[in-house]
Symmetry: C2
Subunit: 460 residues, 2 copies
Amino acid sequence: MATIESVLEKLDANRDAALQRLFALIGIKSVSTDPAYAVDCAKAAEWMAAQLRDIGFNADVRPTTGHPMVVGHAKATNRDAPHLLFYGHYDVQPVDPLDLWESDPFGAKIVDAPTGKQIFGRGAADDKGQLMTFIEACRAWRDCGGLPCDVTVLLEGEEETGSPSLPAFLAANKKELSADLMLVCDTGMWDRTTPAITTMLRGLVLEEVTIRAADRDLHSGLYGGAAINPIRVLAGIIADLHDSKGRVTLPGFYDDVADLPEDVAEQWRNLDFDEHAFLGDVGLSVPAGEADRSVLEQIWSRPTCDVNGVFGGYTLKGSKTVLPAEATAKFSFRLVSKQKPEEIANAFREFVRARLPEDCRAEFVSHGASPALQLPFGSETLSRARRALQAEWGKEPVMAASGGSIPIVGAFKRDLKMDALMVGFGLDDDRVHSPNEKYELSSFQKGARSWARILAALAA
Amino acid sequence: MATIESVLEKLDANRDAALQRLFALIGIKSVSTDPAYAVDCAKAAEWMAAQLRDIGFNADVRPTTGHPMVVGHAKATNRDAPHLLFYGHYDVQPVDPLDLWESDPFGAKIVDAPTGKQIFGRGAADDKGQLMTFIEACRAWRDCGGLPCDVTVLLEGEEETGSPSLPAFLAANKKELSADLMLVCDTGMWDRTTPAITTMLRGLVLEEVTIRAADRDLHSGLYGGAAINPIRVLAGIIADLHDSKGRVTLPGFYDDVADLPEDVAEQWRNLDFDEHAFLGDVGLSVPAGEADRSVLEQIWSRPTCDVNGVFGGYTLKGSKTVLPAEATAKFSFRLVSKQKPEEIANAFREFVRARLPEDCRAEFVSHGASPALQLPFGSETLSRARRALQAEWGKEPVMAASGGSIPIVGAFKRDLKMDALMVGFGLDDDRVHSPNEKYELSSFQKGARSWARILAALAA
């Protein structure tokens, strides 16, 4: 087994080539939610499989009813090495509104910012840049003689749409994908120089509802006043979903929500989290969630309900005096602790049905559901990862939580009983899911070094 | 001056040619609200001017800052004939959602229905078919020797977008457009065999509001719970605009609304209006307006507020876990009696501003405003028109009201002090503004005969 020093030297020597590989991956338009990009998603999967084969993995692309999976296996040089499963996703969010991007979202490049160099492009951070930190660490170990742990890599192309194909794939390949520990690189650092390990993830329920009234669009002059307007009905439902103190009003919504253990709450209170700067960064000044919770609690450990999109009637330029036949809204619920996705989805549907006036019907579509996840504190795995990160960054990593979901982590915990070590190098200002997404060049380079160290630490 | 009998014979003899002319007009895609169809609007204006010149009018196309006007003048054969101004509009509503049309909206054709033949296509009724009834009546008079009245024709191309260019055009051409009486053919019959004269029109205020919050779209996982969601704010405003009894809650909204005179209310109560059938025709069963008003009052003589369109966040297929930066809604207010458009628009804007939480801003766009209009009962003009319609249809015409707006009628009343005689031949099931718009062939043919008779009656 090579020394960690030689592996780190190898990474530093090959930085430019690593960047070119990431640029090539960002250039593939793997937008998973829009069927128009299905071919690009397949292309990204093939590209990833080729990468893995190039560094000695036995890797291939596996079809699903949606976008394909990539699976690769590589053996360690030593016999009793632990077996790790790395998970990442090669799909990205849509780029609309396109006119807000400063340049081509798929034309990756280096941008000079006051705080340092940045990698620009859709997926630069989420998750192409992040997952490539791990792949580059594996490449460096391989170039120095071989991996210190058995490694299985699983990359999916549907993370941004709720991972619909994952449960079946997991069930069908349970044995092949089982390992001692799962590694994920899809989370963030505490700040530009302080690493973090994410020990809690919020779950996610995605629901879409369409309210229908008349059997056609009507003239608002001829029918206005007499015919029910489904936009008004939908608006009433959206408005009812929160009370005046920012709490979600679904019956039973908070029943399975446990409060934070006091020691974690204490650690969070001592973090130098600047609520004002956090909101100010995006042009806001006042926390809009539950009135009696800190912003850090609101985004890390409290459940939420948001409308992600709404549409109905005439939405183009100008006016049209139409009384529309239907209106649609897309909702996401973020879940914590033991909230059950099915129960929340059902409570939402009941809530809507209870508010339908006569002549209105509701149709529901589920876009996915996954529970929240908490990793036990104080495990040996966590201690080794902390020491590895401390060595790279010179600072104790923060035991963080994340408001965003990584559905697969919950699925693996549920179905394969595997814990996940979540270490990522994103920053709050990476603009993931927004125009002008970026990833710090230092995150990419020191991220790869961090994974090289973690592999060594877990193998020891 | 020719006899009315010879003019009616001429109309009957030339029915096929008249239909071909209407088909040609429907074939021009003059959708006024969408800038992509500006060239088609100009083409429709040129086509109309050529029509008018073909039947002896001195006619031309006049540019505006929006779509052009068509103005034509023709003199009567007799000296002391009254001077009439006919108003119509050559623009049509958008055709979306296109997939609900049974065939090309701009490919006009005759369709056999159980109740008789129908003319199919966008604008078949509103207003291309309707305005051509008057033009064909003029053509027949001309073919029989000349018009019995001085006639000015004014056709605009912005009626469906609130007639933004009209006030300035009216002011600039006040003398040229002034006449003894205005004629409009943009309203409906009481039923398939009973004509109607529309004596009341609701006014219209068109307002669009965009609520903005964060300076970019956010990830609902990273910011959900802490960042204000503008869709939720907009939904609250929409929900607040009506109380539980269906009344609009804008302060002062009903201050200038007079109740119907008892004799008109009595006439309406005696009409065989079938609320159940009216709503049932479009798949509804329960009146949704003010709880203490009949449906006929709700749509003819009560003010309303409707959302015509709403959009914000992710609106394509699938899901996107975005917390959007903005959300927009388009509203139409229908006004009655002495409600003032400016006051209603201002009350709406105040209402929105009063409900903006911190960190939210509202931007407003007006898409037009016009007051309601009431024509005095018992005038000589009205008596003559009633007799002419009675002669053609064999039934006393209904003194009706209309829930839809014709902004120009209000503008002419306000600026030129002209009353308007509104006679139209549309039916409630014409699907104006909706997919599969149609116009009864009998409306087109007997409508032209009705105008021929009205011209004779007014000249007598």
